[in-house]
């Protein structure tokens, strides 16, 4: 080894020591919590594990979580595409402010994200009396859960798309327009295919967060069993009632979806780096 090489990388024993420290840290900090979920879930055998899913309240919670996720991801995807198009393709006044506002939900505590909807739509809230007169329930019902979930997952798709669209530039789209393609045709044939991996990544991240949202939904849900409990809230109830195996069984379901989300994200990232010249 030459001196230059020696000084531009660490001695072998330093490398080995650093790798060991990092492996130990990640093992304790990240992998042990994941492992313990499955350990606790299967601790009393497969039969007890499966029994947790015979509870109709658990299925009601799964259904509610999926509905809230579906609506929130749908809304935020349409918004994300529009916002990324706007911010990546046009220059206008107030662009910096708009970017900051889009990031805002990431900076706000989920608990406050729930609180603002209670203050807006709750019985004592701003629009509360009007809603009551018209017999519309938002807080402590499905609409509130959907709104709070949409709030906390707001920036995911827009952020992923924006980063990719900014680096790609506008040449392809301009060429399509010059050759006579209409605006929608340009969008569906050129823009969307060019950013498809970023779009999928944004949707995967958004879905994972929507499915697992706890703080914001906890504030607006009202915790009515079988009605306004999402899966994470159902886990909380089971855990607080000392039904540990059932709680961890439901948690193992959410952990599996989280692992799938990570795998899909890693796969999409690889495809994206292959796509780049």
């Amino acid at each position: 080894m030459s001196d230059v090489q020696a000084a531009s990388s660490e001695p072998r024993w330093v490398k080995a020591a650093l790798i060991t420290v990092v492996l130990a840290f990640l093992g304790v900090a990240l992998l042990a919590p994941l492992a313990v979920v499955f350990f606790e879930a299967f601790r009393q055998g497969l039969r007890v594990y499966l029994k947790a899913f015979q509870d109709p309240d658990a299925w009601a919670a799964v259904r509610l979580s999926l509905v809230a996720m579906g609506v929130a991801v749908g809304l935020n995807t349409v918004f994300g595409v529009a916002a990324a198009w706007l911010l990546a393709r046009f220059a206008f006044r107030g662009k910096g402010l708009l970017l900051t506002l889009i990031d805002l939900p990431f900076a706000i505590s989920p608990v406050i994200a729930g609180l603002v909807f209670v203050l807006l739509f709750g019985a004592q809230g701003w629009l509360g009396p009007w809603l009551q007169d018209h017999d519309v329930r938002i807080v402590f019902a499905l609409p509130g859960i959907v709104l709070a979930t949409t709030f906390v997952t707001f920036p995911f798709v827009a952020r992923e798309l924006l980063a990719t669209m900014q680096t790609q530039g506008t040449e392809d789209e301009e060429a399509a327009r010059m050759l006579g393609a209409g605006p929608w045709r340009t969008f569906f044939r050129i823009t969307l295919p060019n950013v498809r991996y970023a779009l999928f990544t944004g949707i995967v991240l958004c879905s994972a967060r929507a499915l697992g949202e706890f703080g914001a939904v906890s504030v607006v849900s009202g915790h009515i069993r079988g009605e306004t409990n999402t899966l994470p809230l159902h886990i909380e109830i089971l855990y607080n009632e000392y039904q540990f195996t059932a709680a961890f069984a439901c948690a193992s379901l959410l952990s599996l979806t989280a692992l799938v989300a990570l795998a899909v994200k890693a796969f999409l990232e690889r495809r994206r780096s292959e796509q780049r010249p």
Binding site: I19, L75, S109, E174, P183
Partner: protein, 277 residues
């Protein structure tokens, strides 16, 4: 032609009005209107009411706890996140790619799942709780452990692109000029990493201040001792003390906005650095 080239190009690409309309509508309905409701509620309080609610003894204790544990967790993450990012970008070892994908686990795993998993690990009967000579669960240490889990990806993912971008040629140049490995790390690499490390620290800290789901299970929630600020907001809400909940939320929002501004400044500086190198 009187139009500037930029303006001409903007006209060639369609959809400014549509994308602006969709973006503003969604942003206003989901994020801005609810925040205005919070502002209105806060504006309805007298100064004395606000002060009594936002600065009572119990609330002050919760700020101290949230601030202290978030700071400690962000500091732990700054150290181990830097090591992790370094090892993942600079060294090649079996399982590296898997480990790299696993860093995002705290983003994908629902916070409630992380919460019950950590409580089970560090509880008296848990794998770590049994082995450790001091109590972790239901103490501020336990809260810090949860916030380390939640904050780790922020530090690692902020540092990784900088470390990948930091040219080996600079290090080789320094070493050919006679610098030792330690001098290079201290004088060449560290100053380059400073802003990214600070950004990662700030992101992890901001997330910790607002975190709820992963903390409530392991914290024990004793007033004055292990009660974090977001939990206190929920407690006030459950007691229908909406004005008090609002006052505390306003203080937390002010802290979040200050952090967001600082982070934006840091990131702008980071982007400039990445473009220069």
């Amino acid at each position: 032609m009187s139009a500037t080239p930029a303006a001409a190009r903007q006209r060639l690409l369609p959809g400014f009005g549509l994308s602006m309309g969709l973006t503003l509508a969604h942003l206003s309905l989901i994020v801005l209107l609810p925040l205005v409701a919070l502002g209105m509620k806060a504006a309805g309080l007298t100064w004395a009411q606000f002060w009594a609610a936002a600065a009572s003894k119990r609330v002050l204790a919760s700020y101290r706890l949230s601030f202290g544990t978030s700071f400690a967790a962000a500091a732990v993450n700054a150290v181990f996140g830097l090591l992790t990012a370094w090892v993942l970008t600079r060294y090649r070892f079996p399982g590296r790619k898997l480990l790299d994908a696993a860093i995002d686990l705290p983003f994908a795993l629902p916070t409630a799942v992380a919460g019950i998993a950590l409580t089970s690990l560090y509880g008296q009967q848990g794998w770590f709780g049994r082995a450790l000579p001091f109590k972790v669960a239901y103490t501020p240490t336990g809260i810090t452990v949860a916030l380390v889990f939640i904050g780790l990806p922020f530090v690692v993912r902020t540092l990784q692109p900088i470390l990948e971008d930091l040219g080996r040629d600079v290090e080789e140049a320094a070493s050919s000029l006679g610098a030792s490995r330690w001098q290079i790390i201290r004088r060449v690499i560290f100053p380059e990493l400073g802003p990214a490390l600070l950004t990662g620290f700030a992101l992890a800290f901001a997330r910790g201040m607002g975190e709820y789901g992963s903390v409530v299970f392991i914290s024990g929630n004793m007033p004055m001792r292990t009660e974090i600020t977001p939990l206190l907001i929920i407690t006030k809400l459950e007691q229908y003390e909406y004005a008090q909940a609002t006052a505390i939320a306003v203080v937390m929002l002010a802290i979040s906005f200050a952090l967001l501004l600082a982070i934006n400044q840091l990131q702008r500086r980071l982007a400039r650095r990445l473009n220069h190198v």
